[in-house]
């Protein structure tokens, strides 16, 4: 993937990678370059491990060798572990075995390429004799295997894990305070900036109007059916959030979910889950004392937990 780098303020560095905007913000401008180097390095490692769109990634090799075990890197093993744990925690709602369904919907390449062409066929009866539970992981020999016909996709967890891991690494590299955002999934590390809080604009998709919240710690992630959308060959608009029960784009009662949680992984899992299985995910968010802002298809807003009732609005 190409990465274009721009400098917008002395302490914020922004570039593009993984087809999304990546940024780091630090109160101390000297820390920004270090934070950026940490994030870029980590994203490169994760890309080589589990990108669906490069043939030499571990994940592509696992998918290509379906039916057999494939030796993988420790990072890949860890990311598959995270994905399996997430699937178990969400009763399969956030499922890493949906790669074939995404490809059938047309999402078989970088999203910019997918958007530029009409792709994907109308749904056909789905044959899925396995589930995420059939993903095999051999920790001793560091191998992963999937049944024939299954294709892994770790998109629901790998990006958020990368955000959390970057935030962890900041501390060990001496970055005292930083915010990292990959495609709108963000986490903060260290003490807040001098004015006491990180200011976060929360919107349905990049460039849209939204609200501003402050946070002193933790992470915020947003999932939306309004973001990664494209048109199938028959002209029907679809999106990338797949309901494991149908293999089709999820059609829950909310179109966008923004969640605050202690970690970006928890936030992103909850935001995805809320769009796939609203009732179960709502109970989970409330029980975990997370906070969520939900946008229904008619544009109305619902709040779960301690999300600020009337945060200031910000224009696009």
């Amino acid at each position: 993937m190409t990465a274009a780098l721009t400098t917008s303020t002395p302490s914020t560095l922004t570039w593009t990678d993984w087809s999304c905007t990546v940024s780091v913000a630090t109160p101390d401008r000297r820390d920004a370059a270090v934070a950026r180097a940490i994030v870029r390095s980590l994203m490169g490692q994760v890309d080589r491990a589990v990108s669906r769109f490069r043939d030499d990634s571990d994940l592509s090799r696992v998918n290509a060798a379906a039916g057999q075990y494939t030796f993988v890197s420790p990072l890949t093993l860890r990311l598959v572990d995270v994905a399996l744990r997430t699937a178990a925690d969400t009763a399969g709602a956030v499922d890493p075995s949906l790669g074939a369904d995404l490809a059938a919907l047309g999402y078989d390449n970088d999203i910019d390429v997918v958007r530029a062409r009409r792709n994907g066929s109308a749904p056909t009866p789905r044959r899925r004799p396995w589930s995420w539970r059939d993903i095999k992981i051999d920790h001793k020999l560091r191998r992963v295997g999937v049944p024939e016909g299954m294709r892994l996709d770790l998109g629901a967890t790998a990006k958020a894990w990368t955000v959390d891991e970057a935030a962890q690494r900041f501390r060990s590299y001496g970055v005292r305070s930083a915010l990292v955002s990959i495609g709108g999934d963000l986490a903060v590390a260290g003490v807040p900036p001098r004015d006491g809080a990180w200011q976060i604009d929360v919107a349905e998709f990049e460039g849209a109007a939204g609200v501003r919240v402050g946070m002193s710690g933790g992470a915020v992630a947003t999932s939306s059916t309004m973001g990664r959308r494209w048109h199938r060959a028959d002209g029907v608009a679809v999106h990338h959030l797949v309901d494991p029960r149908t293999g089709l784009s999820a059609r829950g009662r909310w179109r966008t979910a923004s969640v605050w949680a202690p970690t970006c992984l928890e936030a992103n899992v909850a935001s995805t889950w809320l769009l796939v299985d609203p009732d179960a995910a709502s109970a989970h968010v409330a029980a975990k004392a997370h906070a969520a802002r939900l946008v229904a298809h008619d544009g109305s807003i619902e709040i779960i937990g301690c999300w600020p009732a009337s945060p200031p609005e910000v224009s696009s």
Binding site: A25, D134, G184, P308
Partner: protein
């Protein structure tokens, strides 16, 4: 001893696989048994354990002594050191909408957390954003 392979058909997924991990376990356990039953290896192993144990005991004693000295010093200098546990429970405060004592009252300070109340990394908060420029943006990509 040559390792024996077994073929196993795992249910519901079409997995005609050699259970390689069984070979690994057998190989590993054979080596372990050989090491334990070899008198010379066993002697070296015992010596190494004694050495590690002695270092651990020495280090532990040193740490304990240092901690005790520090505690005594603190008691003498401050009188009441307190427990120092803070409120690191991983949950946000009940109300982040501004107006409570933790979040300040003035318009400039509304929603600003009191860093002194963090009590460790467990304090995590979300509240109405203030003025000034935003530092980040959460959105679907």
């Amino acid at each position: 001893m040559p390792a024996q392979t077994t073929h196993r058909n795992l249910p519901a997924s079409g997995w005609p696989q050699i259970a390689d991990s069984e070979i690994f376990h057998r190989y590993a356990s054979d080596r372990e048994v050989m090491a334990l039953t070899n008198p010379r290896t066993n002697l070296l192993r015992r010596a190494r354990l004694w050495l590690v144990g002695a270092v651990a005991v020495g280090t532990g004693a040193s740490v304990a002594f240092t901690a005790a000295a520090a505690a005594n010093q603190q008691d003498r200098s401050s009188g009441s050191s307190g427990s120092g546990t803070g409120t690191s429970n991983g949950s946000p405060p009940d109300d982040f909408s501004g107006g409570n004592s933790n979040n300040g009252t003035g318009s400039q300070d509304q929603g600003t957390p009191n860093n002194n109340q963090q009590g460790g990394s467990g304090f995590l908060g979300l509240f109405p954003g203030g003025g000034g420029r935003s530092h980040g943006s959460s959105h679907a990509s």
